[in-house]
């Protein structure tokens, strides 16, 4: 089955992307990605720029509304995702447990709909 790991990163972790801690921060993610690849479970994924860069679009009374910022402000921010191919939710949870964002944030595990 395919699962998406939806990564919610704590603001203090997002802050580590630049400056002194940046090297350690990115190495953590690189190692995690490499482990997923080596295990042959990685299907895809993406890392996102901080929410400050987000723009949200809505349609109101048929008119396009463009708003600076994310869809919803949350304590931890939606920072990226991985798609995995594994046998069961247990294996997906096992991989989620190793995700660097988990220390301070959260990882949501969701099955992916497979279109036939």
């Amino acid at each position: 089955m395919k699962y998406m790991l939806v990564i919610y990163e704590a603001p203090s972790d997002v802050a580590r992307r630049e400056g002194e801690a940046a090297k350690a921060y990115w190495e953590g993610w690189k190692a995690y990605g490499a482990a997923l690849r080596e295990a042959g479970v990685l299907v895809g994924g993406a890392a996102l720029q901080p929410i400050a860069t987000a723009t949200t679009l809505r349609l109101k009374d048929g008119k396009r509304q463009v708003q600076d910022g994310p869809y919803a402000e949350t304590k931890d921010e939606f920072a990226g995702f991985y798609t995995l191919e594994v046998e069961s939710v247990d294996q997906a949870l096992e991989w989620a447990a190793k995700c660097p964002a988990l220390a301070k944030g959260a990882v949501e595990v969701r099955p992916v709909i497979v279109m036939s």
Binding site: E87, S88, V89, L93, V109, P111
Partner: protein, 408 residues
């Protein structure tokens, strides 16, 4: 309907139904659909067996029909073909079983599905009662004080999650077995507890105790190498043995150390002791094994006439190391008080976080007792008053009021 056919169908419904569900659902993962398909198979049995006679292996017959219905339903729903392939594999397996061979008992897998960490903990017990024991939603709802439709909807939603989230129908590997089993056993314990919270014998919840006991028996039988499975079985058997002595005729609660031992069930106590011996075989003690051992010390009172409080203090200490709870901590302080005196017991009570015990009645009852025996009369009075105000049981209130009156 002819008598043989009726009896065969009843036997199959009682004995085979849940095993068939376990067998089918561990292969197609869709519990609701398996239950519907097996329901169809039973309906066909009711229609055909009186005409054609009871098949040589009713279980194999039901499995064949249920499998066919399942494939029909799967086709109709037009979902993944993978499920169908798995079904066909299940069919081959079933065909390979000789007509007399027993269906493998895979209900243990269902227990692990029901108590999976991806399922909300409050649904673990209701799911087990329905999926593993076949209780209907209305009965489960009454046990959990919910409207039948609400419980029904929650069960349906949870079964959909099991199917769509890909929760595996398997016994976890050794690396996570102990942890996952704990959730299974806790859910069974919760079912027993729900069955206990009643005074009225007509209440449907009382048979919940029996159902919980049967689940504990199933766990021990199917995972005989797991000490905690035996520990829970032993614990529940001890509780069940003492059930007739737990309340007075007018429904008042009787404390364990004051129960009339003549009312305890000797056969159940023997079974409990045997299960505890199995639990201690592996020399690996967990929460339920310690709780069963605590019960066994209390049970000894029927032979010795006294309660061995020193042994209880040690066992509660051990329980607190593996599974610290406020209840166990307060019980530990109570045992230390009886075994070693008030001065030894007070530090255990003082160690609690005040916010944890602010409205926990047993804490204040034990604390009052400790303070009274330390000669701190004014403090003891305040603690008794506090315990009295937090009591929900008439017998406990009367007991505390009497103690309080003595201090005035």
């Amino acid at each position: 309907m002819n008598e043989d056919a009726r009896r065969a169908i009843e036997d199959a419904a009682r004995v085979s139904q849940r095993r068939l569900i376990a067998f089918l659902s561990s292969r197609c993962r869709d519990l609701s659909r398996c239950e519907d398909a097996l329901g169809d198979a039973f309906q066909e049995a009711v229609e055909q067996w009186p005409e054609t006679g009871v098949p040589a292996s009713p279980e194999a017959w039901l499995l064949t029909v249920a499998r066919r219905r399942l494939i029909d339903r799967t086709r109709r729903a037009d979902t993944e073909h993978q499920a169908e392939a798995e079904l066909l594999a299940a069919w081959d397996e079933a065909a390979a079983m000789s007509a007399t061979a027993e269906l493998p008992d895979e209900r243990i897998k269902l227990l692990f599905v029901c108590a999976h960490p991806a399922i909300a903990p409050e649904m673990h017990t209701p799911l087990m009662l329905q999926v593993v024991l076949g209780l209907d939603a209305a009965r489960i709802a009454s046990a959990f004080l919910l409207a039948p439709t609400t419980m029904g909807q929650r069960l349906v939603r949870t079964k959909l999650k099991i199917r769509d989230a890909g929760i595996p129908f398997e016994v976890p590997g050794p690396e996570s077995l102990a942890e996952r089993l704990e959730a299974v056993l806790s859910a069974i314990y919760a079912a027993y507890g729900a069955g206990r919270e009643i005074v009225d014998a007509d209440d449907q919840r009382s048979d919940l105790r029996v159902e919980a006991l049967s689940l504990a028996q199933l766990c021990a039988a199917l995972l005989p190498a797991e000490p905690e499975a035996w520990g829970l079985l032993s614990l529940l058997l001890y509780c069940e043995a003492r059930e007739p002595a737990r309340r007075t005729a007018d429904g008042g609660y009787v404390r364990l150390s004051e129960q009339d031992t003549a009312l305890w069930s000797e056969p159940l106590l023997h079974q409990a002791e045997a299960a505890l011996r199995e639990a201690s075989r592996a020399r690996r003690f967990g929460r339920f094994s310690f709780e069963a051992a605590i019960q066994s010390v209390h049970a000894q009172r029927r032979l010795t006439g006294v309660t061995d409080w020193a042994a209880l203090a040690l066992l509660y200490g051990a329980l607190m190391r593996v599974a610290p709870t406020i209840g166990a901590g307060v019980a530990q302080a109570g045992a230390v008080l009886e075994a070693h005196g008030a001065a030894a017991a007070l530090p255990f009570l003082d160690a609690f976080e005040p916010s944890d015990v602010v409205s926990y009645q047993p804490y204040w009852a034990v604390r009052a007792n400790v303070l009274e025996r330390s000669g701190r009369t004014a403090d003891a009075r305040a603690a008794y008053e506090r315990a009295l105000g937090l009591s929900s049981d008439a017998a406990a209130r009367a007991h505390l009021a009497e103690r309080l009156a003595r201090l005035r």
